[in-house]
């Protein structure tokens, strides 16, 4: 359960938002909307602990996030605007290092299956730099299949994805929400995800 | 007074260049720093009141 109490965010000297409160229960999807520069990304970065809020508090499972340097990161997966992949490494190596650093390295077989499921087929041996934007995004999103984090924080997950990929990712979200996962995401496209509970948050600019 | 006259004081026993070079630089630096801070205060105040008047003017335009 993720609770946010009267959060405020100041970037440079601009006050992006204040008095922001909401909570997300297991199985719930929160879609954060708002114009560009309205603080969507800053909000997400605050939720995952990269950005300190100017005011307010974020609680995970009832405990304030600041005090839990180890428990919270283990339960949360953040995929931001940049894909977080090294161009020189192959998809396989990228995911192997990513999973190893966040605790347990996934086996090559499991990574290959995840990449195949994301429709990347036998491209896992190509350096990521050679892939198209859409394929890179899918490689990044393949990390969702390789982790057992309950909270997903995704910044524009659908950018550069074609129709088939969008549907694939939406089905992943539905699957995650069905087994009590939590998802917070930002997107410009309209979203058809059958979520047990759906919450929309609009950041007024 | 151990210096007797102004001239001996200024001559500083032949080391005038070194002694007055040091104290002269001290005066230049201290005075310079004071002027810098005062100048900075004036420009800040001027700039702040200018922006305040601008936003006030915009607000009146939008209100009208």
């Amino acid at each position: 359960m993720l609770e946010v109490a009267n959060l405020a965010c100041i970037r440079g000297e601009r006050l992006l938002f204040k008095e922001l409160s909401f909570s997300i229960r297991p199985g719930e999807l929160l879609v954060v909307g708002g114009a560009n520069g309205s603080g969507k990304t800053s909000l997400l970065r605050m939720l995952c602990g990269l950005l300190l809020p100017a005011a307010g508090e974020i609680r995970w499972q009832g405990r304030s996030m600041g005090s839990m340097r180890d428990v919270y990161p283990a339960a949360m997966m953040y995929i931001g605007h940049p894909n977080g992949l090294k161009d020189e490494l192959t998809g396989l190596e990228n995911l192997r290092f990513a999973t190893a650093l966040s605790g347990a390295p996934a086996s090559r077989e499991r990574i290959r299956r995840a990449l195949a499921r994301m429709g990347l087929g036998e491209r896992e041996l190509l350096p990521t730099g050679w892939l198209s934007q859409g394929q890179k995004r899918r490689t990044a999103l393949a990390r969702l299949l390789l982790s057992d984090c309950s909270l997903w924080i995704l910044d524009e997950p659908f950018t550069a994805l074609d129709k088939a990929a969008v549907e694939l990712v939406q089905s992943l979200l539905e699957e995650h929400l069905r087994d009590d996962g939590l998802v917070v995401l930002t997107t410009h496209q309209d979203l058809e995800v059958a979520a047990p509970r759906l919450q929309r948050l609009h950041l007024a600019q | 007074m151990i210096w007797g006259s102004m001239e001996t004081f200024l001559a500083m026993g032949g080391y005038a260049f070194y002694v007055w070079g040091s104290y002269g630089m001290a005066i230049v630096l201290l005075a310079g720093e004071i002027l810098l801070v005062v100048g900075r205060r004036r420009t800040t105040l001027r700039r702040l009141s200018l922006t305040r008047r601008m936003t006030a003017k915009d607000r009146n335009e939008t209100a009208a």
Binding site: V71, M76, N83, S102 | -
Partner: protein
């Protein structure tokens, strides 16, 4: 904790191998700078012999500083550095791993090349041995202190020049004890004192700078 360290080092080394050019440019910079001095100072062997250690040490210092950018900047651009901040283990271990990887890539080649280039300066075998030992102990300190500078100036325009301004004053003790070790060895006093002080600085750096650089990273990533 050890496994995390091994994974970070493995990752950075694979990346360095994929981009071999970076490793070689640091090495060539070192060799070029060292060969420039005799052209400027003149070929007399006795002057060169006296200043050899100092020149080699300053060149090693500049070479390792120039490659500091590779520590965090590339990861910052493609978003992988953020993922490091989100792992359950402590960030200082990751930074220690990156420091060790940076030392292996930019420090060790200098250490191996220094005796060869040292021959240009007519350094005696004892001097070359002391040079090797002092560089072996000194270059990791340069990487460790440099990591703090690199973390502070992450993503800033003109970061390269700025990092040298921040980090060079902190390199002074390493330079003094490093170059001093060679002179002491040559003059027969023996370099033990200098090398033990370098060792002390190394321990201090390895304990303090990963944690400080981690704090600096969290500040710069915000």
């Amino acid at each position: 904790m050890l496994s995390l360290l091994r994974w970070v080092i493995a990752r950075d080394l694979t990346l360095a191998i994929r981009r071999r050019a970076d490793v070689l440019t640091t090495l060539f910079f070192f060799v070029i700078v060292v060969t420039l001095f005799p052209l400027g100072v003149g070929p007399e062997m006795d002057t060169l012999r006296r200043m050899g250690a100092g020149v080699l040490w300053v060149a090693a210092l500049l070479a390792s500083m120039l490659s500091l950018g590779r520590l965090f900047a590339a990861d910052h651009l493609d978003g992988t550095l953020e993922q490091f901040l989100l792992i359950p283990q402590s960030l200082s271990v990751v930074v220690l791993g990156k420091i060790i990887a940076h030392w292996l890539v930019s420090g060790v080649p200098l250490v191996l090349m220094a005796p060869i280039v040292g021959l240009q300066y007519g350094l005696s075998p004892t001097a070359l041995l002391a040079l090797l030992a002092s560089l072996l102990l000194g270059t990791p300190i340069l990487s460790a202190i440099g990591a703090i500078g690199a973390a502070l100036t992450l993503g800033l325009r003109g970061g390269g020049v700025l990092v040298s301004l921040l980090v060079l004053p902190l390199y002074v003790p390493v330079l003094i004890f490093g170059a001093g070790a060679v002179d002491a060895a040559v003059s027969g006093l023996g370099a033990e004192a200098h090398l033990s002080l370098l060792g002390a600085l190394l321990l201090l750096a390895l304990v303090l700078s990963p944690w400080t650089a981690a704090v600096a990273l969290r500040i710069s990533i915000e």
